[in-house]
């Protein structure tokens, strides 16, 4: 081949390659015009640390799953700053009688495929969850639920097996509504993957999921008509969730402008630093959860009240809050009623004081004698999840404090799955962990302190307490209910059935270029809840 033809051949090959390559690159979508003047063209990019792995909101979810599916499937109820429930899809809700509840829903919501969102969808979702029992928090709320019926296009009535004054609120808050015409043909909702592989997703939120790049990003485009936001149309043209497994990289990305917000809460040590960083706003999100230790009363030593009290007085809660949480945590007074739930909070319940000497006295009262090295002849295994960096840190402080009081604690940090397994089996002496969202005291107490309760990690069976909790469930008058719960909380505190150490306020960060976020309590909602994202806008110059 002579020079010229060789050059021509190379040139031709190069041109061909360029043509083929450009065909392989993603193509620009057709642009559509926006209708409302308020709505802009901006894309809000949010960073998260994990991929979305599950698109079925009825099955147990991780945070990323929840954030994305929350934008697609509405809840009946939302939550206000003091923990009480607010309207979302439902505009009115309550009880017809002791065993019948109701929801009145909006009539102006439609699914993204044009089908109207009616009470039929709501009833279907509830019945399907009860029948198919998908593993997750929704099903966990259904203990006293029997069936649901759509009595009109906008009204759903639910029948209960026994009086339960919390269930309407709880199901409304925790449960999503899914489209009957999509989920029903698929069979069991517990197994429906809803991965959008056929034609995408049918949703009814302010944004619809249009593009998924696994491991990289999730793109949700604006739905033009969303009644729940003030202007009627979500302002950002699209939301993109980008995945950064490393929180350091996330923070760098926020600082450099690659992302506009970080969805997961900031590690406590970074909050101060980011507050003073230029171009970044740090928003406080009311925490609804708490960290606690429970003492397994199946252990004969821990069955003794004095021993539990001794342990309770042997931890330096102030230090933990100051050091591990950088002062971002608040004491609940060692009470399971949290300050954020202002109606329920009882400030007469005070925190166990850190007093190793008192602990020693209590141990001796219980009949134990310290040996020559100052340690009592007991030993307790404290389990915690290694994947939880905050607990991993304060577990060590707890151990040191107990050592001061002469009580040996053996720390057993383990992988999350092992931790969950051991927790379920009751294979521990002291359980250390977090409870993420405690929005309703009565429900929480039932789960935590009734014998056989799903999270009764202390294995308590106190008849007086059981009685109070049962009463509260059946009491529909709020003031009465509050009184009962406070009494119950006192028992829990005095008997050390639960050692609630702190409730933590969370902080999330976003770029100063964006504003209009509406913060709601808990990490699952924070500033990434549907209404907030629909209202966010770029700050004009």
């Amino acid at each position: 081949m002579n020079r010229h033809s060789r050059i021509a051949a190379i040139g031709g090959a190069a041109a061909l390659a360029a043509l083929v390559l450009s065909a392989c690159a993603p193509q620009a979508p057709e642009t559509s015009s926006t209708s409302s003047p308020d709505a802009g063209d901006d894309t809000l990019t949010i960073a998260t640390t994990t991929d979305v792995v599950n698109y079925n909101p009825l099955v147990g979810n991780s945070r990323s799953d929840y954030w994305v599916t929350n934008l697609m499937y509405p809840h009946l109820l939302s939550i206000g700053p003091d923990g009480s429930k607010e309207a979302e899809l439902a505009v009115d809700w309550g009880y017809v009688d002791d065993t019948t509840g109701f929801y009145e829903i909006r009539d102006d919501m439609t699914w993204s495929d044009g089908e109207p969102l009616t009470a039929e969808d709501v009833a279907y979702t509830m019945n399907a969850v009860k029948k198919d029992a998908p593993a997750g928090t929704y099903y966990g709320q259904m203990a006293n639920f029997e069936s649901a019926e759509a009595v009109s296009d906008t009204r759903v009535e639910i029948t209960l097996t026994q009086p339960d004054s919390s269930i309407v609120d709880e199901i409304g808050f925790w449960g999503n509504v899914v489209p009957q015409h999509v989920f029903e043909p698929a069979g069991s909702v517990a197994e429906f993957a809803n991965d959008g592989s056929e034609d995408g997703w049918v949703s009814a939120g302010p944004f619809e999921l249009t593009k998924v790049q696994v491991g990289q990003s999730y793109t949700l485009d604006r739905v033009e008509d969303y009644p729940l936001v003030e202007s009627g149309t979500p302002i950002p043209a699209s939301i993109v969730y980008r995945v950064f497994p490393d929180v350091n990289t996330e923070i760098l990305a926020l600082q450099s402008g690659e992302v506009d917000a970080i969805a997961n809460s900031l590690p406590p040590s970074q909050v101060e630093q980011l507050k003073s960083a230029e171009g970044i706003e740090v928003v406080e999100v009311t925490g609804l959860g708490y960290a606690h230790m429970t003492y397994n009363m199946q252990n004969p030593d821990l069955a003794k009240l004095e021993v539990r009290q001794a342990l309770a007085h042997a931890a330096d809660y102030e230090a933990i809050r100051n050091v591990v949480l950088q002062g971002q945590a608040v004491s609940t007074g060692s009470s399971p009623l949290m300050p954020v739930l202002s109606k329920y909070y009882d400030d007469s319940i005070t925190e166990y004081e850190y007093d190793p000497e008192l602990s020693r006295e209590l141990m001796e009262e219980a009949g134990y004698t310290a040996s020559a090295d100052g340690m009592f002849p007991v030993s307790f295994r404290l389990i915690y999840s290694l994947q939880d960096p905050v607990t991993s840190q304060w577990a060590q402080l707890v151990k040191d404090g107990a050592a001061e009081a002469g009580i040996p604690i053996e720390l057993q940090g383990m992988e999350r799955n092992t931790y969950l397994a051991r927790t379920n089996e009751g294979d521990y002496d002291i359980y250390a962990g977090n409870f993420a969202i405690m929005d309703d005291p009565a429900t929480n107490f039932s789960l935590s302190y009734l014998p056989g309760g799903a999270i009764n990690y202390t294995y308590v069976d106190d008849p007086a307490l059981n009685d109070l909790i049962a009463q509260a469930s059946a009491t529909f008058d709020e003031d009465e209910k509050i009184e009962i719960m406070r009494e119950a909380a006192k028992i829990v505190h005095d008997q050390v059935y639960d050692n609630v150490m702190y409730t933590q306020n969370l902080y999330v960060a976003h770029s100063s270029d964006w504003d209009g976020f509406i913060s709601k309590p808990s990490e699952l909602l924070s500033i990434v809840n549907p209404v907030s994202l629909a209202s966010a806008h770029k700050v004009s110059e």
């Binding site: 690159a25 696994v214 497994p245």
Partner: protein, 320 residues
Amino acid sequence: MSIALFILRRVGRGLLTILFAVTVTFLLLRLLPGDPALAVASPNMTDEARAALLTQYGLDQPLFVQYFLYLGELLRGNLGRSFTQSIPVIDVLMQRLPWTILLTVTSLVLTVVIGIPLGVLAASHKNRFLDRLVQVFGVTGQSLFVPSVGIVLLFVFGLNLRWFPIGGAYDDAVYGMEWYGSVLSHLVLPVISLTLIQLGSYVLTMRATLIEALGEDYITLAKAKGVPPRTVLWKHAVRNAMLPAITLIGLQLGFVVGGAVLTETVFAYPGIGRGIYEAVTQLDFAVLQGAFLLLAVTVVVANMLTDIAYGLLDPRVRTS
């Protein structure tokens, strides 16, 4: 030997290696302390699903039977089901594989392109200043800890200088040729990070190979004949060292892949390495096993190809 036989032998060896990897994985998961069911079934599964899976893999049967059941599943392309995402492992991995390949191949190409000249430089200035400099550079590069390098690069070039983006493999909402540009800009920092580590060892080996080549008799003969030193260096020594240089890349493949795990995590690059990190944090053993096997197969295939290419080009190798 004939070319056909040579290729056949290499392919056979490749298959043997893959079988070895499969066997090692199989044995490790069933013989190590810990719940052997973890090898196939997620603790989060429903009891029926779990029971079905355990029967499919024969976890109640003797080891021998389990082995063949396992092989059977693999041959059908079934790497199991991810514990955390309810999709087959093979889907999870194939989505990520292209990015890891892009990252590692680019890094290896760069390593060769930079490594050979540096090795030549060092060898031709043996034991003098330049050589020592290259040696120190090589050894240092080999001793760096990948995450530290990554974070420093991100901080300096990503944040402070804003030359490169932080995280991800490309920009969204970018199309056509611009998309390629964004892929490239996202690739730079991870590749630099990975290459720095590989380069050190590669340069040192090139140097050693060349020094050996320069000591050969035919070189002495060429010098005695009065061939100019530069020609001796490039036309003879380097040319003969080229082929081993390329095949050395094959040996490095296994390590590059390992380095990719740490690099992809730090740079949020959506490859298999990062998939491994995520699987570790969630103890998704199905994905961990699958990732290792897939990586092993990739490495073996790449090695096979380079070996065969080497064999085709250099007849001496075929007689080994």
